[in-house]
Symmetry: none
Subunit: 530 residues, 2 copies
Amino acid sequence: MTRERLYLFDTTLRDGQQTNGIDFSVDEKIAIVELLERLGVDYVEGGYPGANPTDTAFFSEKRTKSAVFTAFGMTKRAGRSVSNDPGVQALLDARSDAICFVAKAWDYHVRVALETTNEENLVSISESVEAATAAGREALVDCEHFFDGYKANRDYALACAKAAYDAGARWVVLCDTNGGTLPNEVREIVADVARVVPGDHLGIHAHDDTGQAVANSLAAVEAGCRHIQGTLNGIGERCGNANLTTLIPTLLLKPAYAERFETGVGEAALKDVTAISRAFDEIVNRTPDIHAPYVGASAFATKAGIHASALLKDPQTYEHVAPETVGNRRRVLVSDQAGKSNLIGELKRLGIEVDRKDPRLDTLLADVKEREALGYAYEAADASFELLARRRLGEVAGYFDVKSFRVMVERRFNAIGELVTVSEAVVKVDIDGETRMSVAEGNGPVNALDIALRKDLGKYQSIIDEMELIDYKVRILNGGTDAVTRVLIESQNKRTHKRWFTIGVSGNIVDASFQALIDSVTYTLLKAGI
Amino acid sequence: MTRERLYLFDTTLRDGQQTNGIDFSVDEKIAIVELLERLGVDYVEGGYPGANPTDTAFFSEKRTKSAVFTAFGMTKRAGRSVSNDPGVQALLDARSDAICFVAKAWDYHVRVALETTNEENLVSISESVEAATAAGREALVDCEHFFDGYKANRDYALACAKAAYDAGARWVVLCDTNGGTLPNEVREIVADVARVVPGDHLGIHAHDDTGQAVANSLAAVEAGCRHIQGTLNGIGERCGNANLTTLIPTLLLKPAYAERFETGVGEAALKDVTAISRAFDEIVNRTPDIHAPYVGASAFATKAGIHASALLKDPQTYEHVAPETVGNRRRVLVSDQAGKSNLIGELKRLGIEVDRKDPRLDTLLADVKEREALGYAYEAADASFELLARRRLGEVAGYFDVKSFRVMVERRFNAIGELVTVSEAVVKVDIDGETRMSVAEGNGPVNALDIALRKDLGKYQSIIDEMELIDYKVRILNGGTDAVTRVLIESQNKRTHKRWFTIGVSGNIVDASFQALIDSVTYTLLKAGI
């Protein structure tokens, strides 16, 4: 059976730019275009030339190698010709392959926002499209607020779509600008529109305001659309746009779509989607969503004891798609609910082979459960877990012994009468029977303690110097006066860039931090093979 | 037209506990139950008694006032009687109103995971349900992997569902355990199941692995289900469960559902959903998703430009629902004018009337923006905000002046050779020209500082004695070495039970805590009318 072609249109650099906190520079846009071309989208909407200097500069050259490089802007203003409309001229000046005009399709907006008549708006649409095609550009029209416009005045919304199509637009895109349309409504409305604009010229642009941007996009495709607009990692204003890193794997891996449609994304590109998603987060300094479908770090991570044993036997019965197909991996986490199977699986992953009947396993499992009831969360602290396991199995040497420490935070006036806060720590450590004392200042009590602890560790110093603290997280458990503090520290080896997490739990935050620090130092020495 | 009843089942405390990084303590579960009852869900699945110590302890009492308190566990093991099955016994021992049994519905799992026959599994289902109802509990059955099981062996999956229903289960819940089923498939399959189990006994439990948990839940309802399972903020393993904070507003505000169904959530509870969502994030120290539908801080935030002026004229044409209906608010992010309106609104809410043209407003606005860029979150710290505002408006007296403080945490051996950690704080305070010094010990540096600070405040002592610290939350912003610590303290007046929040931000955690403490003490004195 011949499959139909589905076109993917990325608007990360245009609609995605509306995201609170995101403002791409030209360099960032160039880097993102590279990611988009790796992914294999058909269109890259680069921005809004004329609206701001960055976008105008970005369109001074064509930036894509294979994707259709698209410029976005408004239809011609009413009451003026195309040649007298600076917005349209900016679009024609842009070095793009295509121009996507956003047009009003709701009569209310035509009247209140554009302050013109319905007929004038139709003329604006037609003349804008004609100007683009006359200049050798592919023309697209985004029918803004289309679904609300259709509900308010069906005939007019259809007229707008038809005007765009009749004038020669390659794609008429139905936009759910408010994001509030439901999949059934999308399906019905798109089916109706497909009677005046054929499906192979229809596109969908959905937003996630009811958590259904993906569902709406797929519903539109089922009703006839052959063009989907979305963004990387679903960024976009308010609740975001349709997430391409969710849509693409779904379209390629679910038979309901894969058997009927093909896209510009090949199998190799699909395997690259997780890496692309993470690279995008790095470029925009966005905290990755570990729960994101397909690409999230936890997308294939499971805790439950119930599943683990069966999972390892036949992953297909527990995973809806194989993680490798999207470049991700399976993770089985250790936690309060871990069964023995989970534990054995985790130990194996750490390179520790233990026989299922080994009695030390039961003790370790009980250890983990008891400590987790106290607040330790080993699924988040791999290195602390490994230390616990290896200690229980008798494998960890006593590298050093902290005999005592003292941390002081003082707020007082300095010599010139300014109020300052200083933190100082003193640590006393025993290595091979020799005692060393170190003192250090830091920007807080934990920082001071860390510096003092790692300042002079004798024969271990060169190894410890490779370690650095990357991140520090605190959580108060049980709240109120019986509060217990859980501290998670992320450390990194500066040379190998390997990272690890350690944990500490105590009623005293300095004590909890100290535990996590000690674990990190011990782990560094363990991994150095001493 | 009479509306049908839709039942909402929350599994935050059970399936939600599978989330990577989440492990509720008993106290946290109790606090979350309170939120769930505020919301108005019909069922609260509290956990898995017998599987871990926390859950067993949690079920030692009934924890809900109106919601059906539900215990989760497995169906009876094959080859033994109910009375010889410790898992089922643990469920019967739990102080719950209902028991939800998870049952296999996929013949492959029956064979490989349970290692028994299809017939034995049906017996396990029936006998488990009968045991629950005989003990006076409502029985529910979660048919695990139902949709995959149905696709593999339709007859057997239906037989499992029917066995549960015939045995007397109040609800037979179809679980998309892998999360990979698509809405159209859900719709068709549910419609088929509804022929053996009536829709008013059918439930749906969806996961978000293709980004369609909400769409799947709604599709199931359209096909006949009258029971939806989900979690607060969509937490859950891998990509999460169906998000109740997305589903509930959709069900109550979209006519397609609101006209046909009613739930246990009233209009007032709906207005509370944003606050409930945020309170949940606070309890589990989860970074809020600002883009979450309806409840996210950015759900109704727009970057202006094209929309802003028209938006303010008629929000209905730009917002799919009114933010106030879900207790959220509109944010227009760019103009100073919009910022000022927000500020005036906030001050009014605190009982402070300021003229729009008052120049001190501009300074206060700049102050707030600058401090928020540093990490202060005044949205979460009403009392600190009020102090900032009143200080700027010249209204706060200088009650006392902390000249200096010193906090020390020491870990050392005590007289009998035990390793102990002690925390001591010294505070020097100036009141009306007279200096007082206090020292105190505490279970941590902040606790010691709090006790020392409030130990001797001269003429203010009797008022300060009415104040107590209820909760203390720490968040590290910006991570890494440039980390800034934000501390939120919740305090209470022991006499009036009025509560308030104060905030402190600093690179030094003790300093940040100190700021929040000082604000709380000052606020107490301000409110006492001195």
